[in-house]
């Protein structure tokens, strides 16, 4: 994680603003978006009306009705507050983003078709249109999202990535996309504008963190249907209770029925649901990943298969020397020295890695003056050989067949040890390089794709999450298999073309799997679009960024693990709080039911297992607990229930224990404590 935003869980300024926000959200047109809270608001208004009526007519029990009404309003306010806090944290982040977008002036080229003509006119960045070509020079801010069509420049993208090291943007290839609001540090580029103000990447990011354009995600929608349904069911239960109680001559007041209803309907999860959703998006952005929709974040939690590029993700991207294997009669040190000398003039990564290995492991000497002045034969793609001629020695290293030809040795006549070493390296997926001196073969250098150090653990973590990893590479199947087993991926796709990737994704999807993939190149775009979760790299092309449904600002493909975790966390938090909310109802029944009927049937006092002081204090305590629990759970809603990659069954057992059983037990204790307080203060 390269950037952790430093907004504290409860920032003072955010809390103050959220307190006002909570009151503003009482407006019916806002409340109606949340059915559970809307019902609570309506009955709170009803209780208030009864309170006012009783106050006017001088009816008894006014204090009780008043307190119930007040706490019902608090229930709604607390829920609004939770949402406002979550939004406030997003807003704080959006403001930070907005500050980076200073009002810039674009240099719009008048004759973009003529590469020689650099005549431009100034235009406010807000007025730039799609298709305009703008010139951006050192020190200028890029006015809009676009694609570099000419030139090369280093760009500071810290405004959106938080990463201060500049990145190179150039025309053509995979590094041609630039983002509005970032600053060119050196040189110049011409940019064709692809998105205008309002729909640019930065705008989308701001809208997302502010939650302004937030739509309910599919799963959130399904959950709110369940919550509304439960509210309806409890409405039936409570409304019919009036009639059933009437049978035994008990007349239940509207106030107590309203209190019973609100404690039964799932206000806890209903009140925190949207806060959980906003906080989930917020967490993702703190993680430097921008999702185009909440739907994609949810889908990330469901991913079964992850397609991941080998180069740069699983391996370092270049083949590196890992061992020297001498033929009999040659010492390892001798071979290392020869290889070292032969590679001094080889500036390829492979050549440098041979030098590094020889220095590190065999402490090859610094080249003597004589050697340094000797004639170096640089590596070329044609000869596939590099080497050195000095002091009558002619040392070469290079591809096995090229060296054999150079030394004039037939492979059949080479020593069995040499042939064995070459075969073994090839079979293990590595590349053998031969080293010769004159006509004598000295041995073999083992070059291989080096797997990144902790990547295996990352894949093991994914397997524990139930995600299958598939490595995609252009290597031949033998090499691919060797690296796949070393890195611990579950499967690989060798000699893969972009079409192969797309076809693979389609077949896996046909088998009912959800696929995630990372990509950065334009040729990845179709596969990114086809995948259920397509994470494009910020360093990638505009086409890739448009095709994916998430953009990783750090351009780190293994981040998909964290993205998946955030998706899972989002769903887990909802599920856990729903379970908690429903389990809470059991205790509330034991508080309220005896209180309602103890006057008619004193025997029902047996059900008052908590030993609550009076019927009024029992009902009031249940309502107060119901309101306070929302506040108590705001931190959990914002932080999310922690995810552990231990498999679904273990996770379920753990969460059922905490939120299911905990939800059953906690309110018995909580209501009792509130009741002690209520009766001590003489409130009821």
């Amino acid at each position: 994680m390269s950037k952790t935003s430093s907004i504290a869980l409860f920032d003072r300024a955010i809390l103050e603003e959220a307190a006002f926000g909570a009151v503003k959200k009482l407006a019916p047109q806002k409340l109606v978006r949340n059915p559970v809270m809307f019902v609570t608001g309506v009955v709170a208004a009803l209780a208030t009306t009864i309170f006012v009526r009783d106050l006017a007519t001088g009816e008894g029990g006014v204090a009780f009705t008043g307190q119930i009404a007040a706490w019902l309003w608090f229930t709604v306010l607390f829920a609004n507050f939770a949402e406002a806090v979550a939004e406030g944290r997003g807003k704080a982040q959006a403001d930070a983003l907005r500050r980076s977008r200073s009002d810039t002036t674009a240099k719009v080229l008048l004759h973009p078709d003529d590469p020689e003509d650099e005549l431009w006119e100034p235009k406010p960045a807000l007025d730039v249109e799609v298709g305009d070509v703008v010139l951006v020079e050192a020190g200028d801010t890029i006015p809009a999202d676009g694609e570099v069509i000419e030139g090369i420049a280093s760009v500071n993208e810290s405004a959106i990535t938080g990463e201060s090291a500049p990145v190179i943007r150039e025309s053509g290839g995979d590094r041609s996309a630039v983002t509005g609001g970032t600053v060119v540090l050196s040189d110049w580029i011409k940019v064709r504008v692809t998105a205008t103000s309002g729909s640019s990447f930065l705008d989308r990011m701001i809208a997302l963190v502010e939650g302004a354009e937030r739509q309910k995600t599919p799963n959130e929608l399904a959950l709110s249907i369940l919550l509304s349904g439960m509210t309806l069911i409890f409405l039936v239960t409570v409304a019919t209770l009036w009639g059933l109680a009437g049978y035994s001559g008990t007349v239940l007041s509207l106030t107590v029925l309203v209190a019973l209803l609100v404690t039964l309907i799932p206000t806890t999860i209903g009140g925190l649901l949207s806060a959980i959703g906003i906080a989930g998006m917020d967490r993702l952005i703190r993680f430097n990943v921008v999702a185009t929709s909440g739907r994609a974040v949810e889908a990330a939690g469901d991913v079964d298969t992850l397609l991941i590029d080998k180069t740069g993700t699983i391996t370092f991207g270049n083949r590196l020397a890992t061992a020297f294997i001498p033929v009999p009669g040659v010492s390892e040190r001798e071979l290392a020295e020869a290889a070292f000398l032969a590679s001094l003039a080889d500036e390829t990564p492979e050549g440098r890695s041979i030098v590094a290995l020889a220095r590190g492991h065999y402490s090859a000497p610094e080249p003597s003056h004589e050697e340094a002045s000797a004639k170096a034969i640089p590596f070329s793609a044609q000869t596939r050989i590099s080497g050195i001629d000095c002091g009558g020695r002619s040392i070469r290293k290079g591809a096995v067949d090229a060296i054999l030809a150079f030394a004039g040795v037939l492979i059949e006549s080479a020593s069995p040890a040499f042939r064995k070493a070459v075969d073994e390296i090839a079979q293990s997926g590595g590349t053998p390089l031969a080293v010769s001196e004159g006509h004598r073969l000295l041995g073999v250098i083992h070059l291989k794709d080096v797997v990144k150090p902790d990547i295996k653990e990352r894949f093991a973590a994914m397997r524990a999450m139930g995600i299958k990893t598939v490595m995609v590479t252009g290597d031949n199947p033998v090499t691919a298999a060797a690296i796949a087993s070393e890195a611990g991926v579950d499967d690989f796709l060798a000699e893969a073309t972009p079409q192969d990737k797309l076809a693979y994704i389609r077949t896996e999807q046909g088998k009912g799997r959800l696929i995630a993939m990372c990509g950065d190149g334009t040729n990845d775009a179709p596969a990114l679009a086809q995948a259920d979760v397509g994470v494009a790299m910020q360093s990638g092309t505009q086409a890739a960024r448009e095709a994916g449904n998430m953009v990783d600002l750090d351009s780190n493909p293994t981040k998909l693990i964290e993205i998946t975790e955030i998706g899972k966390q989002l769903l887990m938090t909802r599920g856990s709080l729903t379970t908690f909310s429903i389990a809470n109802d059991v205790a509330k029944y034991f508080a309220i039911i005896p209180a309602l009927f103890v006057a008619t049937y004193p025997e029902l006092g047996t059900l008052n297992v908590m030993g609550l002081a009076t019927p009024e204090s029992a009902i009031l305590s249940a309502v107060i607990f119901n309101a306070l629990i929302i506040v108590a759970l705001i931190p959990l809603a914002l932080k999310g229930v922690p995810y552990r990659a231990v498999g679904a069954a273990a996770l379920l057992r753990r969460n059922l224990l905490i939120y299911g059983l905990g939800g059953l037990v906690a309110p018995f204790i909580g209501i009792k404590i509130v009741d002690l307080g209520v009766s001590a203060l003489g409130l009821a």
């Binding site: 439960m230 019919t240 799997r513 379970t579 429903i582 039911i593 995810y643 498999g647 996770l651 299911g660």
Partner: protein, 569 residues
Amino acid sequence: MTLDGWLEIALVLGAVLIAARPLGLYMARVLQGERTLLAPVLRPLERRLYSAAGIDAGKEQGWLAYTLAMLAFSAAGFLVLYVLMRLQASLPLNPQGFAGVPPDLAFNTALSFVTNTNWQSYAGETTMAHIVQMAGLTVQNFVSAATGIALAAAVTRAFARSGSATIGNFWVDMTRATLYVLLPLSIVVALAYVMSGVPQTLLASTGVTTLEGAKQTLSLGPVASQEAIKQLGTNGGGFFNANAAHPFENPNAWSNMLSIWSMLVVSAAMTFAFGRMVGDARQGHALLAAMGILLVAAVALVYGAEAAGNPILAKLGIDASAGNLEGKEIRFGQALTALYIAATTGLSCGAVNAMHDSLTPLGGLAPMFLMQLGEILPGGVGSGLYGMIVMAILAVFVAGLMVGRTPEYLGKKIEAREMKLAILALLILPFAILGFAAASAVMPSALESLANAGPHGLSEILYAYSSAAGNNGSAFAGLNANTPWYNTTLGLAMLLGRFAYVVPVMAIAGSLAAKRKIAPSAGTFPTHGGLFVGLLVGVILILGGLQYFPSLALGPVVEHFLMQSGKTF
């Protein structure tokens, strides 16, 4: 409670389990159209039926067509039955010369049998002519049960298939369930009943002179055959008013065990058929385990409460060691009566071998709560399975989120549409049970039907609507339900409980069948094994408890506390 008693219970339940597995696997073959042992005999008959009715057995239906076919079939069944009852006076096979059945009773009874409820506001032996019993009631006993099996098969296919627009053919499923499953089984069971002394005759009642020299009329009729399908199809509508407590319906301990076995066996078998059809036997076992745990818990509650008896009697110095025997047949004993009570209400059977009105308050709470849970433990033939699947979907939705994935059941994602429909189905029961019960509780005219005052009277009303909406059909008695208000509202409750419930369930099936089946992985929430069974049991209890606790508190619960403190009504 005695060890012997529990052994008797274990014996019957064990016999059910042993028979349910092969029966379930056989049913799966039948419902999947595979060849079975009975095919040589029944296949030609089946084909002839299709060609006579003009049905293309190879053509499958989507959920809507399937549901409409089912509704049309049930509506036709209702009309035929209604007309038969109204006109029975002028029809043959009416040796007693019974008059036509009055409209509200005919409406109630026709609905009652079409919905597989078999609520009887009348005494069978003195109201219904043989023609109605045989051509009307018994036919519905078969086809309403077969309809349940067909619906369950359609819902099961929704999980078994991937990306399918169709879920089977109602006419084919219904015909096969009748021909291959219910008919052969009831012939065997009817013969077993005849062996244990149940009459099977077309004669009218006979007069006999008792030992004391008094004249007594013995009602006779085709009892054994009706008894067989009444139990197997979880119908529960007895030939006699006393139902399975009557010595001609249930003469001895053996017939009692057979009676319990035969009402449980098909519903239990459905879970095995489910497991086979979705390709994972463990999924069926998990559902059956959840059903079994709750059923045995209910048996324990009834058995415990009844064996403990009434403390008021004990205080009067009466030996109460035999427990509460009021309303019970001594030939069945406490244990198997308790099992019968739990089974008949855990199923939507509704046959009774004891007077439920005479149960202790807690003993009466158990059957009432079982019905309010929606008749899923193990529920009526077919209807129990699809009811349980709705609960499983709900459990998976709430708990499935806790493992951090979009909830899925058997590889099918549970999304907004399924949730909406499941909620719609779930709303029906509290609406029908609590709504009508609350209305009756405040209507003076409705309260006149009550035989008892106090909380027990409320229990009688609650029980009646729970029974009707759950399509059970058993009665607490004590409530004279043969009034226009009760006949009509109970009829409506039955109608809602069956059809208003099943339409959204079928829509869920249609929506799930069309979805692609998702391959399971280590991150998939497992829906077999102990954890899921426990979760399912918890969800059923908490959800059911939350809906009905207040009403139960005012009925049986407070009655229990009152009894403890020495008060009666």
